[in-house]
Amino acid sequence: MNVRIEALAEATYVTPEGRLDFDAAPGFQESLERLLGAGGKAPAALIIDGAALEYVSSAGLRAVLLGARAAQKAGVPFALCALQPAVREVFNLSGFSRIIAVHPDRATALAQAQPGRA
C-alpha cells in the first residue's frame, strides 16, 4: 500500500491509501515508527488521515494501536480523522475509537490534538 506523508509545522499527516491488511500492516507500522523514532525531530502531532483508506483488517488495527502507543511514549498527540464509514465501523466495533481519538476531519483533529491515551 502507498502511504503519503506530509510533514507540516503544526502536525504530520499520514494518509494510507487502499487496504491496510495483513500484508500492508508491517510497512505502515514501520512508517509510523520512523516518524516517531529517534534521530529526527518529533512531529508536533501525528494525524492519520483515513480519506483514502478503504479497508482495515485486524492486523491493520494492530499497526494503528502500536503507532498510538509509540506516539504516547514519545509524548506526541495521535489521532485519526476522515475515516470512511466502513473503516469507522471497524474502529467502533473493535472498541479502538474509545482509546484512540477519531475526528471527522483534519481541522478538528488538529484543534483537539492531545497526547494519546492508548
Partner: protein, 407 residues
Amino acid sequence: MPAAAEPLQSATEAAGGRVHALANLLLSRGPYARAFENLILGLIIFSVASIGVESIPGLPPWVLQTLHVAEIVTVAIFTFEYLLRIVAAPNKLGFIFSYQGLIDLLAIAPFYLTGLDVRWVRALRLLRLLRVLKLQTHILESVVEQRTRELAEKNAELEKAQAQLKAELEVARSLQLAILPATFPTRPGCEGAARMIPATTMGGDFYDYIELPDGQVGLVIADVSGHGVPAAFFMAVARTNLRELAIRHTDPGECLAQTNDALCAQNPLDLFVTVFYCILEPQTGVLRYANGGHNPPYVRRATGAVESLSGAGGLVLGAMPGATYPTHTMQLLRGDRLVLYTDGVTEAFNPAAELYGAQRLADEVHVHGSGTPAALVERICQSVTNFAGTAPQSDDITLTVLTWGAP
C-alpha cells in the same frame, strides 16, 4: 599355469588401479588437482616465454643450455600429464582426437620430432598458447561446476528445511484444529453446529463451548489479530484463559474483563483478540452476552426475522488492561437460531475485490435459517466459497450456529 598367472594379473590390475587413482587425484577436484593445474599453467607460461627468449640472437651458450634442460623437464611433465589424461578419459580415442587432446599432443610432439625444420617447430610450439586458453576454460568450467554444485546443495538444504517447517506447521495446524470442540454439549432442546475453514496460513480464529455450573453453556467465538504462528499461539493462550476464567466468573462481561487483564499481562507481541462470549441457560432460553470488539452475531427468530446482537461492546482483548465489558441479556424464543461468525465470512473477497459483506450473510440466515444448524453452517460456507471463487482465502472462516428449543 593359472596359479601363477593370477597374481600377475592382479598385480597389473593393482598397478592400473594406482594409475587411475593418481589420475583422479591430479585431474579431478581437490587441493592436489588444483596444485597440479597451477603447475601446468606455470610451465606453459614459462615455456612460451622461453620461446621468446631463445629467439634473441647472441645468447651465451649456458643460457641456451639451461633453457634446453628446462625444456626437457617441461615436456616430460606435459607428456606425463597427457598420458594421465588418456588413462583417465572414459573414451580414450575420443580424448586423443578431441580439440583439447590434439592441442596437448601438438604441444609436446615437436620435441619428439627431431630432424624437422627448427622454425616450423617453433611455430608449432606457439600452439602452447592455445593450451593456456584451454586451461583457462578448464579452470573456469571447474569453478562454474563447483558453484553450481554448491548451489544445488544449498537448494536441497533449503528444500529440506522448508519441507520440515511445513510438516511442523501442519502438525501445529492440526493441533490447533483439534482443540476446537467437535460437538455441542448435550442439552435437551439445544442443537449446535460449527465449522472453521482455515486460511492457507495459520490463523487465529476459534470457537468454544464451555460447560458451566448449573447446566449453563458458554459459547465463544473469537478472532486473533493477524495470522501465522504468533496468532496461533495467542489463540491457544486466549482460549485457555477464557476457559479457566469462565468457570469462576459467570457474568460474561466480568469474564471478558478478567480475560483481558490476563492477556495484557502476557502479551509480548502486542496481539489482540476479538471475543464474543455468551452464556445460555438451556431451561429458560435466557442468553447473557458481552462483546470484546467482535462482529455482533445474528439471531434469526423463528419468524424468519434477523436481528443483530448489537448491544454495546468493549475493546478487543489484549490491547489495554482495565477495559470493561457490559453484559446484555436477551430472551431466546422457541425455534430461534443464534449465528456466531468471524470476519473471515463477511470480509471474504471475490476476484473483483468486493466484500461478501454482512448483508449477504444476513440474507442467507434469513432465507435458509429454518433447517438444522449443521445445514445452515454448510449453506453459509458454500455461499461464501461460491462468492470468493478463485480469490485466495486470506482469513479463517469460522461459524457456529445454535438453535434453542428446537422441536
